[in-house]
Amino acid sequence: MAEILKYEHVDISYNGVKVIRDVSFTVDEGEILGIVGESGSGKSTLIKAAMGLLGETGLVTRGDIWYKGKNLPDLSAAELRRLNGPELGMIFQYAGSSFCPIRTVGAQLYESLTEHESVSREEFSRRAAALLEKIGFENARRILDSYPFELSGGMQQRVGIAAAMLLNPSVLLADEPTSALDVSVQKQVVEEMLLVRRTFGTSIVLVTHNIGVIGAMADRVLVMKNGETVEYGETQQVLNHPKEDYTRLLMSAVPKLER
């Protein structure tokens, strides 16, 4: 399979302080890569770098992030903006708070779509409803007409995924997409993302501290600690037969339900 996103020897610094050291990985078309680590391991910083979201003080000080022949850290802000959305989609931990509270979900999705292409309202409504139905929403019209606060946390998160998928990106970057959710809702969101991959062949980079979510979704996994790669490989291989002590420690610390 062709690779779509490739990190090569990436170092990232904030104001002269190095937080990521020499991280390399590739994401193939349709692959789900899980990046797992504890707080402070730099896992979120890694995907923020691809989106150009490191802020004024952050910079990829060494290495390259290749996406379709473009080196992302060297693109201008305007070029990145053109990529963000139609090529690289993003899902946040609190999708609900990335919506404006006083406008309907539909109006906001329409706005984000017209940023990148010109479509009529009717065309948009048809497409949005079709997309929502395709990724498992019943009653898509009602959701488009709701205000964000009328939806539950899990529903907001799923709508966040739908919002990202509306532009049909090749890669979805998801930063702790299930961490704020209750377990029963978490499962729905995981299934949502798997359905997106099945339906559209989208590659997903999933950043989380929840190894259960990684095990349920990821094809390959990258274990991070203190800004460095600890282990990188096939998910089942890494989770079931970890090579490194740290991965072993991490796996043994995960509370497992015995039933």
Binding site: V183, S184, V190, N210, I211, G215, L249, L250, P255, E258
Partner: protein
């Protein structure tokens, strides 16, 4: 055996102007026996925090009774309540926020001792002993909450809770904000304390992770929409859930 904590018919109704009354906790009752570790699980919005806040009297209950060691503390205030706090202590969800950012950890741990009339020198000694018991060194007494890691801060919070030698320790999601490896360390500490204190220490363990409850608790209550929908021994509840909500909860664990 007399229960350490007995809750009868506890109810909390929130009323706001212009909004319908909301029953956060709906006539719940349970008992906690000496040396027991009782788990209380539920999702966000199930009323766990409201229950805890009513038991610790940080929130007034609408209806029902709370008996701590046989004494009715439901309406206590002032001196009486301060006496009750010598029997009951709490460990909070976010360790760093549970210490005053402008006071040292030692100040926080020793506060209850000073309030109970212990001298400054004795308090210092006792704080050092408590810190050691909780796996830290006495030097931590002079650190500020932002100077220590989450796990270290939670250890200090446990030391603070144990300072008055309470019979009831309430852990309100005490491990939820911590990384899994740290979570295990804190649970190991709590297990040590349980072994060490035996029937002198009972724990009410509030948690949303049923796997942790299975690992740690001797009995579990499942809270859903303000009601206890199921209770029993964790293995029993997990392997043979009776209530549809519990079943759904267990099925969704990845």
């Amino acid at each position: 055996m007399e229960p350490v904590l007995k809750v009868e018919n506890l109810t909390k109704v929130f009323t706001r102007r212009g909004q319908p009354a909301f029953t956060a906790v709906d006539h719940i009752g349970f008992e906690l026996y000496p040396g027991e570790c009782l788990g209380l699980i539920g999702e966000s919005g199930s009323g766990k925090t409201t229950v805890v806040n009513m038991i610790t009297r940080l929130l007034d209950s609408t209806e029902g009774r709370i008996l701590l060691g046989g004494e009715d503390i439901t309406r206590l205030s002032g001196k009486g309540l301060r006496r009750a706090y010598r029997e009951m202590q709490m460990v909070f969800q976010t360790p760093a926020d549970s210490f005053d950012p402008r006071c040292t950890l030692g100040d926080g741990i020793g506060e209850s001792l000073r309030n109970n009339g212990m001298s400054r020198a004795e308090t210092k000694q006792e704080v050092a002993r408590l810190l050691t018991e909780c796996g830290l060194t006495p030097e931590f007494a002079s650190r500020y909450p932002h100077q220590v890691s989450g796990g270290q801060c939670q250890r200090a919070a446990i030391a603070r809770a144990l300072a008055v030698r309470p019979r009831l320790l309430i852990c309100d999601e005490a491990t939820s904000s911590l990384d899994v490896t740290i979570q295990q360390e804190i649970l190991a500490l709590l297990n040590d304390l349980r072994r060490h204190h035996g029937s002198e220490l009972s724990i009410l363990f509030i948690c949303h992770d049923i796997a942790l409850v299975q690992q740690f608790c001797s009995r579990v209550l499942v809270l859903y929409r303000g009601r206890i929908v199921e209770q029993g021994i964790p293995d029993e509840v997990i392997c043979h859930p009776q209530d549809p909500y519990t079943r759904r909860l267990i099925e969704s664990i990845l």
